[in-house]
Symmetry: C2
Subunit: 469 residues, 2 copies
């Protein structure tokens, strides 16, 4: 595809066009360096209408389009394949906060706004936009919606899907659909919004969204507790749901191996107990009550947990710095694990009732088959979501460890499937989990997905090869 | 279509087949008697597999299928047309509670289970299934999902869509899709679940669902307050969201005209204030705290509202009977309005920030054009959802009033559309709002809906003429 075609694309829209290899490079590799592709061009349109112009042009010329937000995905969903035939469509040129409706508790923004900027826009009017995750400084809300991102406050506020009221989308043909409704209830037809959310750019290009805002909670209190087993952690979750009500904001499980890595690699990190336990849980209560009252409510819940022998120790944050230090234990696990060598990651979800059994039996199966790899298990237990990760055993050669990736993925995913779980809880399929997912999906479901894809992208130009083979 | 074909259908599945006119009659008219159709047969399969057999047979013979749950809809979505060519597919033969997973807080049921039976199944394990609406004794959960039902606790717990984790669906071709996942997070492909929810039986037949359960709240307290204007009610909502947090369970607006009708027609009903006000609000707080503490929290919120001059009077329930008497004021509005003669109804939603202006300007426009019809305005203000109803003026001839239906619908819906609202907040489109909705939808959206319909029901046999023309 030559110069003439590039010039035609250049004339077709207003934003930036990158064709120089060095300029394009950052858009062709994911941030972990796991996938690298090639592109015919990278485009950065300036507005939804400009995105529509790009899409109309690509549709007419049958050029595949790979949409990309902050390029922080974990599943390779935003990296083009190696053919060099695609256009990478970067949405980061679309950064407007379009409207804040404080009384309606909604905000309407461009898809390319970073999650952090969106959180700040909410804070500036004394509201909370609760989606929160590690990449929030770089990831975009459009990418969050395209992958239905989760994070640490899903238990109370829901994932990206549940925070979204309306969408603006450019179709494969380049039509601009304005579905930016700020309504809590609207039963006037098919739920296109939720079809685009989580579709990883394979059905349309999200260019804007209307999102829910919430009152800033008056207080947030956090406890770190020691539990003997995952079963006790699940018992504690049931108790916390009942005693803390809808204010239960986070419920994070962490294996002791996770926190030993954090203490080893992160300066100043310390588990707040003298005696170690096999497992720990972080519980956050956010509340409309003042700090002291919220702390009393959480303390009463923990006392009940002691009485039921569900926990053996507890540390409650009594200052912002303690709050942050406890959260840092959880937030630094990925970095600490990375410092230990290569990792094999799984982002799984299970019915909460199946988690304790899963951890026990899968741990035993891995121990029997893997030559002593270390389990680094943590995650959003309140949502049934575990990051069920593996690190090499001490002194294990990297190549030996990486040779285990395929068999370990299969072992873990088979066990997840047998327990009625999902092999991608919050990271999406991209290319990383595309084929594994297809192995477990009912054939009826795959056929329905293909019909939808065919209906909305008949030329197959939208993020080809992602999510569906 | 003759006896032979009926015999073939009879042989194709196990459940009941009704062909006698008297036996079929209850399935051919909606409960309000607004629509009456005809059918070639009524079938009542006994299981999801049996539904699949019916659908395979109908697909093969190209016979349209009208799915029906409890037949309590308000938009004519479950009544066949007059052609007599359709089969009515009653789901009420599917009534199993399949699985209750208390630890996972989920329940899996057949689509034909009544909402009340589902609520009871949750109660029997000390859990709450929070969907609650007037027809709950007769409506089925499958119908609730097909129409994405709302009700009085949406503010805290969400509508039917938000309460559903997994679905089982029979496709137009008669394939049975098992998507009954009890997972809070699952990002493995297109969101078929939400596509079927709210599609009013035009894309597939819901035969089962996995739904969220919640802890039973320790207490529920209710206040009825007097407010001068809808703007004050909206100000009170903002205050209540901030002060009551996620425990704010219901926030219902009622015009004084509504409550005067209730007092007139419902024995024993009484507004709990000596001085009348133009508007009232019901606020329910459900809480993990005991009664007394919850009442104190609600009282403190109301005191703040007094100080901000948002409310002029307040009555707090201090017993279950008072709680029920106050709720009865709201719940009896429809019946009281019905006792006053014919009604013209609108089920609308608006951004909360637009409601006060809408009520003022639309009320004035109606007063100017309608010869004194009475406004009966109430609804779920917390969700932005109003039942914006009209009753004839005193002594107005019924025919004169009914002649106003078209012009009044148009006036109200135009105003809703101009305010960024929806003309069907929780009742769906059926045949009642199908064409009106199409007038307001962007053409891109209608085209996308038609593509989805074509992809999932290529022969156009699923509830033809409903939702989409």
């Amino acid at each position: 595809m030559g110069t003439e075609l590039r010039q035609a694309l250049r004339a077709a829209f207003s934003g930036r066009l990158l064709t120089d290899a060095a300029e394009m490079a950052p858009y062709l590799t994911d941030w972990r360096g796991k996938w690298t592709g090639a592109a015919w061009a990278v485009v950065q349109p300036e507005s939804p209408e400009d995105v529509a112009r790009v899409m109309r042009w690509c549709h007419e010329h049958r050029i595949p389009v790979v949409p990309q937000g902050g390029n922080t995905g974990l599943s390779g969903g935003a990296t083009p394949d190696g053919s060099g035939q695609s256009v990478v469509l970067s949405l980061t040129g679309l950064q407007r906060v379009r409207e804040v409706d404080v009384q309606n508790d909604t905000i309407t923004v461009d898809a390319g706004l970073t999650l952090f900027a969106l959180q700040e826009a909410a804070r500036s009017v004394d509201r909370l936009f609760p989606l929160s995750l590690a990449a929030e400084g770089s990831c975009t809300i459009g990418g969050n919606l395209a992958s239905n991102a989760g994070g640490v406050q899903v238990l109370r506020y829901g994932n990206a899907r549940e925070l979204c009221l309306g969408l603006e989308v450019v179709t494969a043909e380049g039509d601009l659909w304005n579905g930016l409704r700020g309504l809590r209830k609207d039963n006037t037809g098919y739920d296109l919004r939720d079809l685009y959310i989580g579709s990883e750019g394979t059905l349309g290009i999200i260019t804007g969204a209307t999102l829910k805002l919430f009152p800033q909670p008056a207080s947030r209190v956090l406890a770190c507790v020691a539990v003997a087993t995952p079963a006790d952690a699940v018992g504690l979750l049931t108790l916390a749901r009942s005693r803390l009500g809808a204010g239960l904001t986070a419920f994070e499980l962490m294996g002791d191996s996770c926190l030993r890595l954090v203490e080893k690699h992160i300066p100043g990190a310390r588990v707040p107990f003298n005696e170690r336990s096999a497992w720990y849980v972080l519980i956050e209560l956010s509340s409309e009550h003042a700090d002291g009252q919220a702390a009393s409510i959480l303390e009463a819940c923990l006392e009940a947990a002691f009485e039921q022998s569900l926990i053996s120790d507890a540390a409650l944050s009594s200052s912002l710095s303690q709050f942050e230090a406890l959260w840092a234990l959880r937030e630094n696990i990925s970095e600490a694990q990375g410092a230990e060598g290569k990792t094999i990651k799984h982002d799984i979800s299970l019915p909460v009732s199946r988690i304790a059994g899963f951890i026990e039996s899968t741990g035993a199966a891995i121990a029997a088959r893997s030559g002593g790899v270390r389990l680094v298990v943590f995650g959003h237990l309140g949502d049934g979501n575990l990051h069920y990760n593996l690190s090499p055993s001490e002194g294990m050669a990297e190549s030996d460890f990486l040779a285990l990736e395929g068999p370990m993925n299969q072992l873990v995913h088979d066990a997840v499937h047998a327990s009625g779980g999902s092999i991608s809880a919050e990271h999406g399929l991209g290319v990383l989990r595309r084929d594994a997912s297809a192995r477990y999906k009912p054939s009826v479901e795959l056929a329905l997905m293909r019909r939808i894809k065919q209906a909305l992208d008949p030329r197959g130009l939208l993020n080809p090869g992602k999510l569906l083979a």
